[in-house]
Each structure stands twice: as structure tokens, then as C-alpha cells.
């Protein structure tokens, strides 16, 4: 797999905006971002109200995903290009989700909304109307999704990569610094995890670092790139960004995103937790 199979740049998107069979999808946590301006022709997916089950803590099921994509006018053979704010966290999360449900042709816009804005490229407020489709999803590909027991089993056996900020890793903070520190879970990290914040994989403008730089970053932090890997963060979207870097850009075969992440692990009874720097 090469980088161009999974990542496109802004110039490509500008040149191909009107291509039939190409659907741009903006995914933000802040849905008002799309309403204030988005790339022409892009549809919006709300990571929370549209991708999460409204009752249980889990994703929408296969039928729910089919209904969502059908309603958005996305067909099975469309090329889906995802982008969003926050250095593409939620776009990467949606990318992982599209892969989880077996969408064939999906890519990320490198740098997402941030790079697009910093380049002063065009944003519009017109919402496109796309005829609905009859989308068919696959069963979840669990080779890319880790659950809590696998996170525990990975201690000391697989690479565990904690992609939260250093202060969240050490237990000093429970949430990123731009959020109020209101959560009640235990702080810390999964024992044997390496602390490699997601941001290490990105440049200031939100684009991904080169393959060589990425390999160096993970190797230097003690990750054996020949071993299976589980990535986690607080709720699984920042770790989707790292999952994308490891599996889609570097082509590692066994990389799972633990979407339960710290909000689950840090609330489990009886599991080991480590505080402070990585050991």
C-alpha cells in the first residue's frame, strides 16, 4: 500500500471536487464548523449523533451504518474522501469506521480542514443534496478493533501505544488541556504502554509526517514495528489518527484501535494501572 492509496492533498481535492463517484465528507466534533463553511460539495457526518449508538456505549450497528450512508447519498463504489477539524482526528476516526464496515475506497485529505483554512482555500455554506442510495455494509472487521480484554492481554506482549498528551499519560491530567478537567475515572496509563502522543505523527499544519519520520518516531519510543500493536487514547479518536499512521501509511499488518480507551480502561475494576513516566 502506498501513501497515495490512502491520502490525498488539497490540490487533488480542488481538482477533483466535481468528479462523479467522489464524495467529500466532513467529520467534526463541532458540527457548527461545517455549517459556517465547508469544502464545496462536502456532506457532513456527526461523529456523535450519527456514528454512536444513542443508548449503549458502542457504534451504530451495521444496519444503522447502511441507513446513515444511504441517507447521505454515498454508494458502495464511491471514493469517499474524509476531512475534518482537529488535525483530522474525527476524520481519521470515521476513516477507521468506514474500514470497520468494509468500505472499499476511502481516503483522508492530508491536513484536513486546518491545512485547507491556513491555505485560504474556498469554503462554502451551500449544503449539497445527493440522491439516497442503497448502501450495503460488511460485518465489522474486528482485525482493526480491540476490546478491553485485548488491552489487558496486550500488557507486556504487544505494543501498547498511548497517544494522549504526556500529562494525561502520567496521570497529571484526566482530559486534554482544552477541556475542563471534570472526569472522574482513575488517571494513568496501561502498564508497558509507550507514550507517543498522536501529535508526533503530524506537522504543525496538520499534515502527516513522512514515512521515514514516522518509522523513526515509533522505533525511537521503543515500539517494535514487527509486533502486533494496540493504540488507545481517551475515547478512541486520537488513536484512530495513530492507527492510520501505523496501518495505512506504514503498512503494518496487525494494528488495532482500542476505542474504549482510557474512559473505559481507567474505570475497570481490578486492572493494573501505572502512573508517571513510561517504564
Amino acid at each position: 500500500m502506498s501513501r497515495s492509496d490512502v491520502l490525498v492533498d488539497a490540490a487533488f481535492v480542488e481538482a477533483h471536487l466535481d468528479d462523479p463517484g467522489l464524495v467529500l465528507v466532513e467529520v467534526d466534533e463541532d458540527v457548527s464548523a461545517y455549517d459556517k463553511g465547508h469544502i464545496r460539495g462536502a456532506v457532513k457526518i456527526d461523529w456523535k449523533s450519527e456514528l454512536q449508538d444513542p443508548v449503549r456505549r458502542d457504534f451504530v450497528d451495521k444496519t444503522g451504518f447502511e441507513q446513515l450512508l444511504s441517507g447521505k447519498g454515498i454508494a458502495n463504489d464511491d471514493l469517499v474522501i474524509l476531512y475534518g477539524g482537529n488535525n483530522n482526528w474525527f476524520a481519521a476516526y470515521a476513516y477507521w469506521y468506514f474500514k470497520l464496515y468494509g468500505h472499499g475506497n476511502v481516503k483522508l485529505l492530508d491536513g484536513g480542514r486546518k491545512k485547507w483554512e491556513l491555505d485560504s482555500r474556498e469554503l462554502v455554506v451551500d449544503v449539497p443534496s445527493r440522491p439516497s442510495t442503497d448502501y450495503k455494509a460488511q460485518d465489522q472487521d474486528l482485525s482493526i478493533r480491540a476490546f478491553r480484554d485485548e488491552a489487558v492481554e496486550a500488557i507486556g506482549t504487544k505494543n501498547l501505544i498511548d497517544v494522549r498528551s504526556p500529562d494525561e499519560f502520567s496521570g497529571k491530567l484526566l482530559a486534554p488541556a482544552h477541556l475542563p478537567q471534570e472526569q472522574a475515572q482513575r488517571a494513568g496509563h496501561i502498564p508497558t504502554a509507550r507514550s507517543i502522543p498522536w501529535s508526533k505523527a503530524a506537522n504543525d499544519d496538520g499534515t502527516f509526517k513522512s514515512d521515514d519520520e514516522l518509522r523513526q518516531i515509533y522505533a525511537d519510543a521503543g515500539v517494535d514495528l514487527n509486533k502486533a500493536t494496540v493504540a488507545y487514547c481517551r475515547i478512541g479518536e486520537r488513536s484512530s489518527h495513530t492507527w492510520f499512521a501505523l496501518r495505512e501509511l506504514l503498512g503494518l499488518s496487525d494494528v488495532k484501535n482500542y476505542d474504549g480507551s482510557w474512559t473505559e480502561y481507567g474505570s475497570l475494576v481490578g486492572v493494573p494501572i501505572e502512573l508517571g513516566e513510561a517504564k
Partner: protein, 102 residues
Amino acid sequence: MTQGCAAPAQTARIPATVDLANEAVIQGTVTRDGDPVSSAYARLLDSTGEFTGEVVTGDEGIFRFFAAPGDWTVRVLAAGGVSVDFTITAAIGEVAALEVAI
């Protein structure tokens, strides 16, 4: 339902659920020729230069972090190739304020 890790809308008013007595706030306003700049990116770097968080300014040009006490760098990125750094100290119960004219 779980709240995401992305930043909430950046507004002048601090959300009512936040007790400032327990927070070390770093905030600022980005202006260009006196007018607030929206869609500027404020990046919070810790004392070792490690990235900690990022928020986007809204219509009021405001950014805000709930940091740990200590020394921080705020890097502001904006269209036109703007990238400027500021050093600032945060303390619990205080709002450390920056005025960023670009």
C-alpha cells in the same frame, strides 16, 4: 454519552459548568488590525516543547486552555503563513491572558 476530545466552541464566556477556582486557564484573543480573527489555531506546548492541545478561534477571536500549573508556550497559526510563539505561566484559580496581534 462520552464527550469528545475536540475543543468546545471558543467563546468569551467561560461555560457555567466550569469552576474557575479549580482550573489553570490560559486564554487569549487573536486580532488583525484590531478585528478578531476566527479560524486561527492556538497550539499549547509544554515546557519541553511537546504538543499538548490545540483550539480554533471562533468569531470573537478567543482561544482558551485548561492547563496544569506551570510554564507553557502558546503557538498561534493563521492564514498567510502566520506562526508566532508566546511563553506564559498558568496557575490554579487564575486566568493567564494573552493579546495576540498578527
